[in-house]
């Protein structure tokens, strides 16, 4: 057990560095002029993609823990969630600054008139309280209510994928992949269709059949 403690301890800086890799790629592309003819669009798409990806990774922690029985996995969840928020902040800042130049009128119009921006903005707003209450102190202070509050991450996932789906003009393949992954990850949380129990029993059955043949 002490060894595992240590591994988790060493793992954290590693995961932290891994989560910074996309930012590093973005900065190096920016510095070398490799962001293409429309750099603002490239930055917006890049940071949006990584927000969604890290959000899905965060949502994958609990099902993975239940499937594998590796309880320590949950120790990475806060960091992953905060990195999803970090890329969301970059995404939102790119929009506010480089795309709209803080033109509040245009931003208000976007949020009110364009559904994909409305849901994206809502998802971002919902992330803020979760990020704030991610500290040990807030977990203690909120007690049981903390868990209820942090279930908002499911809504954030749905709004985030919807944000992407509604943005795309015709080719729904990429946002469709995110939607399917999100659907599976949320499926694990639905009590009446508990995918993890089903998967575990399916694996046990296969194991039994395999050992009976032997």
């Amino acid at each position: 057990m002490i060894r595992r403690e240590r591994l988790v301890g060493y793992g954290k800086p590693l995961v932290f560095m891994l989560c910074l890799v996309p930012l590093g790629i973005l900065i190096s592309r920016g510095a070398s002029g490799a962001l293409g003819p429309n750099p603002v669009e490239a930055i917006t798409h890049f940071t949006g993609d990584w927000t969604l990806r890290l959000l899905l990774v965060t949502l994958a922690v609990t099902p993975l823990r239940r499937l594998t029985g590796q309880a320590w996995l949950v120790r990475y969840r806060r960091m992953l969630g905060l990195f999803a928020f970090f890329y969301a902040v970059l995404h939102f800042t790119t929009y506010l600054w480089l795309d709209r130049f803080f033109d509040l009128g245009a931003i208000a119009e976007d949020v009110l008139k364009r559904p994909y921006i409305t849901v994206g903005f809502a998802a971002f707003l919902l992330m803020v309280p979760l990020a704030i209450t991610s500290t040990q102190g807030w977990i203690r202070r909120l007690g049981r209510r903390w868990k209820t509050l942090h279930r908002a991450v499911y809504a954030i996932g749905v709004l985030g994928v919807l944000h992407y789906l509604w943005l795309v003009k015709a080719d729904l393949l990429e946002p469709g992949i995110y939607a399917v992954i999100l659907g599976v990850l949320l499926g694990f949380r639905v009590p009446w269709a508990d995918l993890s129990t089903w998967l575990r029993s399916a694996m046990r059955r296969r194991h039994r059949i395999a050992s009976a043949r032997r």
Partner: protein, 319 residues
Amino acid sequence: MLIKKPADILPSEITPQQVWQRRREFLKASASGISLAALGLAGTAPTRVLAGDAIPNMQPSPFSTDEPPTSLEDITSYNNFYELGTDKGDPKANAKFLKPRPWTVTVDGECSAPGEIGVEDILASFTQEERIYRLRCVEAWAMVVPWVGFPLGDLLKRFEPTSKAKYVAFETLYDPEQMPGQRRRVLDWPYREGLRMDEAMHPLTILSTGLYGELLPNQNGAPLRLVVPWKYGFKSIKSIVRISFTEKEPPATWNRMQANEYGFYANVNPAVDHPRWSQKTHRMIGDGWLAKKRETLPFNGYGDQVAGLYAGMDLKRFY
């Protein structure tokens, strides 16, 4: 047979000097057999030169804007051409699959002299002009493109449209071998577009055969594409294989897919928003990431010439 005679005005006098000089340097380097070294040294050497032939006998046009053209690199690497892929970088990457020679355009429908015309014939029979036009995409970005082409009306007249011809319909090549993007049904292939007869005959409406004084690169719609500078870019159908005169409004791909988002007319109009993009402003490609967006003008700034075509029409309804 192409009859070559010296141009009155050299392309070097029209193309921006830096671009022209880069090309001359590259050609000189190629001639002395060090083209590979030049490519290596220059880094972003103009790859177009290898594939492109200069268009002979090109004339300047009074319709050209004097705004600085977007770089050849940007015009050829940021494209919406779903037949070659939905990402804006895909068309350049997949350009090699498209074979723009030999190429024939079929002209049929409500006309007395239907028939076919080869692209070589088109290049030889119509005076090619340089038309530096603003191009505004419905996605709220814009470019300035030094097209080479000729008025669409000149070609249409040849096929003698009848009085029944109220519209002109266009169709892109359908061939998933040459157009890998067509292997998935992202759009209702082949891509179709249409214009009203008076729009098609307007002197600003051209068929483009080239870019920056050379033959059109595949990713920009080789060998022949429509350019209607006062409409959103998606109206300017690429790699045309069929032109038909029709009595009724012909189908247009984006319009059929999402009529509430993409109108048949698709005139650039800052007063009519797309559900996903405000059309009041646009980003000029090449301005860089700290540049502000620019104000979009009605009819993309060509209102003086074309507003009359829509007199009495409610452009919020016929968007």
